[in-house]
């Protein structure tokens, strides 16, 4: 019972903790995030397996974790509210070319990060974007006013 219970408790604690931390913390790994990610297993290892280093204990722990992941995935898919509770909802951080300060402050998104995302989408400035959305996995997706026409942008001529 011990290993199963410990895995269930730690799983839900980490799930709730990451949810509280917010989308940005683990969307892109900054050095600080990497430190946190490396420390979490170090902290919880002993709590998970105690002093039982047998393969049997590891198999039970792994099976418990996989069952929890599968059940969480099933419930998230079946019930929208469960998915929202676990993963959160996307947040609009730029609307019609204008930043949404409330959302940016709540989600701790910097203007520089929006500019990075705009540049990655091939845009120069915020006015060219219809939406910038902070997705539930921490990525920023940019939707331009017009989807660029690849045929117009592509230039196969050799560079002189």
């Amino acid at each position: 019972m011990g290993v199963v219970l410990r895995i269930v408790v730690i799983y839900f604690v980490i799930m709730v903790a990451l949810r509280i931390m917010g989308k940005r913390e683990f969307g892109e790994l900054a050095p600080f995030d990497l430190v946190v990610l490396l420390l979490i297993p170090e902290i919880v290892t002993d709590a998970l397996v105690g002093k039982d280093y047998s393969v049997t204990s590891a198999v039970v722990a792994l099976a418990t974790l996989l069952v929890l992941v599968f059940i969480t995935s099933l419930l998230s898919h079946r019930f929208e509210w469960v998915g929202r509770a676990i993963a959160g909802s996307p947040a609009v951080v730029l609307r019609h070319g204008r930043i949404v300060p409330e959302a940016m402050n709540v989600e701790r998104v910097n203007p520089e990060e929006i500019l990075d995302a705009l540049h990655s989408a091939g845009l120069e400035d915020a006015g060219q974007a219809k939406w910038a959305i902070l997705e539930t996995d921490g990525r920023i997706t940019v939707v331009p006013w017009h989807v660029p026409d690849p045929g117009r942008q592509r230039d196969d001529r050799p560079i002189p």
């Binding site: 039982d52 047998s54 006013w145």
Partner: protein
């Protein structure tokens, strides 16, 4: 390009889907297997457990507590308790554990210490008193360890079978 064009206040919602719980048949089979492992683990069938054996002679009673199941490389304790049932002191008390049993363990240590391999001499037990010995060991060889714990005193013997399943 202007940013001031009219448009909806929020991006369009995702397409509607009738949500169902569904998976490939193989996934259900795999999930059932995993759930069975978790259930066995939760029920304690795959973790450390302790049991006891009890026996008595006219002069004394013995209770041996030992690991019934033990994970490989985990430490287990065999605790032996001897009760003097007489109204006089009981001398010459000896505890011996079968080498076949302890062969499956390493780092075997006894309190009081072994006088010779796997034999523990104990001091006299006062009338109605209790004396305890313990053996600490780390499980090493996987599968079933079985043997006997034999306690002798006043030319009487109590022999108790101990069996430990050492899980991989």
């Amino acid at each position: 390009m202007s940013a001031q064009r009219p448009g909806p206040a929020a991006p369009p919602p995702p397409p509607l889907l009738v949500r169902r719980v569904s998976a490939h048949p193989g996934q259900w089979v795999g999930l059932a297997g995993l759930v069975a492992i978790v259930a066995a683990g939760a029920a304690g069938f795959l973790s450390h457990s302790v049991t006891s054996a009890r026996g008595q002679a006219p002069s004394f009673e013995v209770v041996v507590e030992y690991p019934h199941r033990l994970g490989h490389a985990s430490r287990g304790v065999i605790a032996i308790e001897i009760h003097n049932r007489t109204d006089r002191g009981l001398a010459g008390v000896m505890v011996r554990i079968d080498p076949e049993y302890l062969d499956r363990f390493v780092e075997v240590a006894a309190t009081p210490a072994f006088s010779r391999p796997f034999t523990i001499p104990l001091p006299p037990i006062p009338a109605g008193g209790v004396i305890r010995a313990r053996v600490d060991a780390r499980a090493d060889r996987i599968w079933r360890a079985s043997g006997r714990v034999v306690v002798t005193a006043a030319r009487e013997t109590v022999s108790l079978e101990v069996r430990t399943l050492i899980l991989p």
